[in-house]
């Protein structure tokens, strides 16, 4: 086999497998409830507070306490867990202060624990609280320092929250982790699981598109071949086809009749004469060849699998022909073993 065909074959196998992975992962992702994957089912509904803000007094003082050189992008007065706060976002960090006292609000491990406990409505107790310095696979959508709070429940829940603002980043659990694994398979970004604009998936999808398009051409070819023809079988459903089967050496010789519009391959199979096949009647393996007399007109698929000489001799692919009324079909002797007709060649 030439190297090109070898490459072709392996590319085919790899992409065939990837096609299966795309389908399986696509199914899993549509089957898993999205809200559940995001962990929203175990989240306490946010309490809409009707309190009004109390005057912010010492903003100048707070501003003066910021490190020099940071540019302020946003200052806000709002509520945080029932407390009036001032939140200042600069190009370096976000900080929260008590609106009255001007005191810096530090979200330490203990505070993170309380916040997570209040948000989480599922089973289990908090086991560990750990610091997040750089984004991990599970917090890849968020930046800045954070806390990971783990629960000892069956789903292995982990809540992630910002150490700057106390905002819950993510509500992760095993179902999300499974989902994320399939997401990785789907977008083929095996490292960060983030970008579907990576060259592996671009290459794989373009080649798949080419394969799918050629697959469709094959499909339409078989359409014209009559595989999807509804009319011919209907018209021919009462038609009787009579034919004779004999072995080359003449020991076996028997007449048959069949009803309806079926391929010779199928009709013989129904009579328990099982021709060899590896494509199952798709016209691609060429193993189902038989010699007919008289022979129907050869199709392009016959020409693909048989030599001109064989065609002249009346060889045809039995899976491709429906018209063989009054033909004699010669089959190799090997098909008829001692226990007549029950010998399976495949």
């Amino acid at each position: 086999m030439s190297i090109l065909r070898l490459i072709h074959r392996w590319v085919g196998i790899f992409l065939g497998l990837q096609m299966i992975l795309w389908m399986v992962s696509g199914f899993i992702m549509s089957y898993y409830d999205h809200d559940m994957v995001e962990g929203n089912h175990l989240r306490k509904a946010p309490i809409r507070s009707s309190l009004t803000l109390t005057p912010v007094n010492d903003l100048s003082q707070i501003l003066a306490s910021l490190p020099l050189g940071e540019q302020i992008l946003n200052i806000s007065a709002e509520y945080f867990r029932g407390q009036n706060i001032v939140k200042i976002r600069t190009d370096h960090a976000t900080r929260m202060f008590d609106a009255k006292s001007g005191e810096y609000i530090n979200i330490d491990a203990d505070y993170a624990k309380t916040i997570a406990r209040d948000d989480f409505t599922g089973e289990g107790d908090i086991t560990t609280v750990s610091e997040i310095i750089a984004p991990t696979l599970e917090t890849r959508e968020s930046n800045g320092p954070g806390w990971r709070v783990d629960f000892n429940n069956a789903e292995n829940s982990s809540l992630y929250l910002s150490a700057e603002t106390g905002q819950i980043w993510e509500r992760r659990h095993d179902q999300w982790r499974q989902f994320d694994f399939f997401w990785m398979l789907h977008i083929m970004d095996y490292q960060n699981r983030k970008s579907f604009n990576n060259w592996i998936v671009i290459l794989a999808s373009w080649i798949s598109l080419w394969i799918a398009l050629t697959g469709f051409i094959v499909l339409f070819e078989s359409l014209s071949k009559g595989d999807f023809n509804f009319i011919a079988p209907l018209l021919a459903r009462n038609k009787t086809t009579r034919f004779t089967v004999k072995s080359k050496d003449g020991h076996f010789n028997k007449s048959y009749s069949s009803k309806g519009h079926h391929t010779l391959f199928r009709v013989l199979a129904a009579e328990n004469i099982n021709l060899p096949t590896s494509c199952g009647g798709g016209g691609t393996c060429g193993l189902c060849r038989v010699q007919l007399k008289p022979a129907p007109k050869a199709t392009p698929i016959d020409y693909r699998k048989l030599s001109k000489e064989e065609i002249r001799e009346g060889y045809r692919l039995s899976c491709q022909h429906h018209q063989f009324d009054k033909s004699t079909i010669s089959l190799p002797d090997s098909l008829f073993g001692k226990s007549k007709l029950s010998f399976k060649v495949d």
Binding site: M1, R9, G12, I13, G16, M19, I20, W22, M23, V24, F27, M29, S30, Y31, Y32, D33, H34, S49, T52, L53, P55, V56, L59, S60, L63, Q71, I72, L73, N74, I75, S76, A77, E78, Y79, V86, D91, S195, F196, N197, N198, V201, I202, L209, A212, G215, F216, L219, S222, F228, R266, A269, N274, T277, S278, C279, G280, G281, G282, T284, C285
Partner: protein, 240 residues
């Protein structure tokens, strides 16, 4: 009957039903992975989105004063808007935008204000060809994905037919849309088979189709494998 014959037979019918969808999945996937997502989001269209506050707080109206003016405010923000400091606050009546130097209430934005916001943020070549205040939620453009109105729609005459959507209450450039985004959204709809809202990945049609897709791909792979395996001796014999 031969097992492979059965696979062949049903693979073919399945292929007819699901094959077209598989082709759509692949073709839409090709587009989505090939066109850069940041470009789809329109990052290149807008700039000066998050600018630092330049004025000294001392010279501005203070938070305390704003709170006295709007005692029911539940959140007050000081931001840079069109190059100057502004207060943006939300109370029972929604959002308001206030000049932080004069306490002048900007919201709701006039057509001229919307034009200024659009021109300020637009980072590409092109002229504004249309400004419309959208208020009718029922007839909102589908490209807004159900965002609440009112919004100013500002259309540009650039090559990719960009639209900016600006909130008249907060003055924020809420979102931007362009041809590549619209194509992405359309193909996403075809990809997840939610033809109504284009958002629900858990719809029954998709679940069933993807199960069929799994069966199709596995049976197709099985056939591919067998046509590799057995066609060799056949070819050798013919080549003689």
């Amino acid at each position: 009957m031969n097992i492979r014959f059965l696979i062949r037979k049903y693979h073919r019918w399945l292929a007819l039903f699901i094959g077209l969808q598989a082709l759509i999945w692949i073709a839409s996937g090709v587009y989505m992975v090939t066109v850069d997502l940041d470009y789809i989001h329109g990052d290149q269209l807008a700039h000066k989105m998050d600018e630092p506050i330049r004025e000294n707080y001392q010279n501005l109206i203070s938070f305390a004063e704003i709170q006295q003016l709007y005692p029911s405010a539940s959140k007050i923000e000081l931001v840079q808007w069109l190059g100057a400091a502004h207060y943006r606050l939300s109370d029972d009546d929604g959002s308001h935008l206030i000049d932080a130097r004069t306490a002048h209430v900007i919201s709701p934005l006039t057509r001229d204000d919307a034009l200024r916001v659009a021109e300020y943020h637009f980072a590409q070549e092109g002229n504004i060809i249309n400004i419309t205040l959208l208020t009718d939620q029922k007839n909102a453009p589908s490209e807004l994905n159900g965002r609440t109105l009112p919004l100013w729609q500002v259309s540009f005459d650039d090559e990719i037919a960009s639209n900016f959507y600006i909130s008249p209450d907060s003055g924020i450039l809420v979102t931007r849309r362009h041809e590549y985004w619209r194509m992405f959204d359309f193909l996403w709809m075809l990809h997840i088979m939610d033809y109504e809202n284009r958002t629900d990945v858990n719809n029954l049609l998709l679940i069933i189709s993807s199960i069929l897709g799994v069966i199709l791909s596995i049976s197709g792979f099985w056939l591919l494998f067998y046509s590799f395996k057995k066609s060799r001796p056949q070819n050798v014999r013919r080549d003689k």
